[in-house]
């Protein structure tokens, strides 16, 4: 399994990670190597086998519908780089 530079750039775009030119080539080579080792899975017969997402026999875990205090807004907003009147602020999505 070998992936090309365009594929690395496509993945980086999906993952929202800016890569340097050196990183693009490094990850192209390393990800190709790692993906090559995944061929071992082809040798395992999984016809009719259900996938496992997690191992506990739990589904639809409900919590009681009771209100309780959230973290204080001011404490949480203190962690953000930019805020505005109680909101998180970001640069315009479309400029």
């Amino acid at each position: 399994m070998s992936i090309d530079r365009e594929t690395v750039l496509h993945i980086a775009k999906l993952a929202r990670i800016a890569l340097t030119d050196d990183e693009i080539e490094l990850f192209r080579s390393q990800l190709s190597d790692i993906l090559g080792h995944f061929d071992v899975l082809d040798g395992i017969d999984t016809d009719g086998i259900e996938p496992t997402a997690q191992i506990l026999p739990l589904e639809n875990v409900f919590a009681p519908d009771v209100s309780r205090p959230s973290l204080p807004q001011a404490e949480v907003l203190k962690l953000a780089p930019l805020t505005d009147d109680g909101y998180l602020r970001v640069r315009a999505v479309l400029e």
Binding site: I17, A18, L26, V61, P72
Partner: protein
């Protein structure tokens, strides 16, 4: 009076109970030890001396008021992936260098309520991704047994802190071996409980279907005592199991007579390090001499596929979990870009280290359109196959015993440029996470490497929620040897 920095928690508790030592004295001894050796070991990212002494005084007052507890006043180190209110939690990443959470994780709260004294937060591979602690943005931790070598990872700081006498016990997290592997390489006991046994609320998420918190200790009794303190259902973690928590010390001294112990064939491959093989063989002979029925060549045929399953599922889950680091809500933020998306991409490009980026990319690829079925779905199906093989083995055996790692500690830098070679360190530990089973690493000897003696770990794997049997086997083995009396030549 024994050396205060080499005590087990239960020995420390006995001295505290007898008023032969105070929590303040124990805590000062740990802090002095950190001051004396951590410049060389670098187990800690943050030392919280002032908070620790305040917690120690509070613990001494609680004891003076008649309260008792196995962990009351005993110094602990916490992996820097556990959320502590008022003390920064970096996850070994530049992304969270100044992050101080406004809340406390469930397990941290349980320990503090039990009177634990936190001496600091320990070094780790960034976001718990790695097997050597070299991926920390703050520099590698050094193995106390040989400072040129890695302590393992990702919880290498916690393992090294306990081995070096800087804390009586520690907590780490284990997604593919990140407690058991460093415990083996540093010569301490380390346990990953059953998935769902311990609340993950306040554990910074890496791979949510695999992550589990667990202890590093100097003996198996301490492991049981720490599990007693941290296990249990938590409404804040929907994947924490609503099952009763037993007293994990109850079966501890029951011995192994009559227990059926299987040794998986695939965990003793021909290319296994000869020193590791020798230590494991000796340990099996010791268990047999104690009356266990040992059966070798137990088949777990899909073991060879577990590494691929893990390195598809864990990065896939990580790629989703780490989407939260966007430079908007908290953490490092690049703000000089051309717009919102440019800022976000540069925040993540600059804030994450190479291994984290590599795994996010790998996971994003495995989940992307056109590859999902071939990688992610296929890996989830093979995950079922691996679980069923363990189920079949546990229909016949009470526990499985194997090496923890293919080799003892390797040299710093030796595998840093070859991600796949690094991944192979976890080949015997990650199947246990895939199947959600409890597993422990207990010291089982030393191998010589040049002038150094390097510890080797024995892995004991149990049925889901049967930590009791795992601890019982580990304790029975531990008593046949005296490895924990050795201390590193620091």
């Amino acid at each position: 009076m024994p050396e205060l920095t080499s005590l087990t928690a239960h020995a420390a508790a006995a001295l505290l109970r007898a008023r032969e030592v105070s929590s303040r004295e124990l805590t000062e001894a740990a802090l002095e030890r950190i001051g004396a050796v951590d410049g060389r070991v670098h187990a800690f990212l943050t030392v919280t001396a002032e908070n620790a002494l305040a917690q120690a005084d509070a613990a001494d007052q609680r004891r003076a008021a008649g309260e008792d507890g196995e962990l009351l006043g005993v110094p602990v180190a916490l992996k820097d992936v556990l959320i502590t209110d008022g003390v920064r939690t970096t996850c070994g990443s530049k992304m969270l260098e100044h992050f101080v959470a406004p809340y406390r994780g469930t397990v941290v709260g349980k320990l503090f309520d039990a009177g634990a004294v936190m001496v600091g937060k320990t070094n780790m591979d960034e976001f718990a991704m790695g097997s050597s602690t070299e991926n920390s943005a703050y520099g590698a931790t050094h193995n106390p047994w040989d400072l040129q070598r890695v302590p393992g990872g990702s919880s290498g700081g916690s393992a090294a802190a306990v081995a070096a006498g800087e804390a009586v016990y520690a907590l780490g997290s284990d997604t593919g071996g990140s407690i058991r592997q460093p415990a083996a390489l540093c010569g301490v006991v380390g346990m990953k409980p059953t998935y769902g046994r311990v609340s993950r609320f306040g554990l910074v998420a890496f791979a949510s279907s695999l992550d589990q918190i667990g202890p590093f200790t100097r003996d198996v009794r301490d492991t049981a005592l720490v599990l007693n303190a941290i296990c249990g259902h938590d409404a804040c973690d929907a994947t924490s199991a609503p099952v009763a928590v037993p007293d994990f010390t109850a079966q501890l001294e029951a011995g192994v007579r009559g227990l059926r112990i299987g040794v998986p064939k695939e965990y003793l491959p021909p290319d296994l390090d000869a020193g590791v093989r020798g230590c494991v063989d000796d340990a099996l002979a010791a268990l047999e001499a104690q009356g266990a029925h040992i059966e070798r060549d137990v088949p777990l045929p899909s073991t060879g596929a577990a590494l691929a399953v893990y390195y598809i599922i864990a990065p896939s889950e990580a790629s989703a979990n780490l989407a939260r680091y966007d430079g908007v809500k908290y953490g490092f933020a690049y703000q000089e870009g051309a717009g919102m998306w440019d800022n976000m991409e540069k925040t993540r490009g600059m804030g994450f280290g190479a291994e984290v980026k590599r795994r996010i990319m790998l996971g994003t690829y495995a989940l992307s359109s056109g590859y999902y079925d071939a990688y992610y779905l296929k890996a989830q199906k093979v995950r079922t196959v691996i679980r069923r093989e363990f189920d079949a083995a546990f229909a016949q055996y009470d526990a499985l015993v194997a090496p923890v790692t293919p080799t003892p500690a390797f040299k710093i830098g030796e595998k840093a440029d070859d991600p796949y070679a690094m991944y192979l360190n976890d080949v015997f530990t990650l199947p246990v996470n895939i199947a959600g089973l409890p597993g422990i690493s207990v010291p089982c000897g030393f191998v010589a490497a040049g002038a150094s003696e390097l510890p080797v770990g024995l892995q004991i794997i149990g049925k889901p929620f049967d930590e009791g049997t795992v601890l019982r086997v580990a304790r029975a083995y531990e008593q046949t040897a005296d490895w924990s009396s050795r201390t590193p030549p620091l």
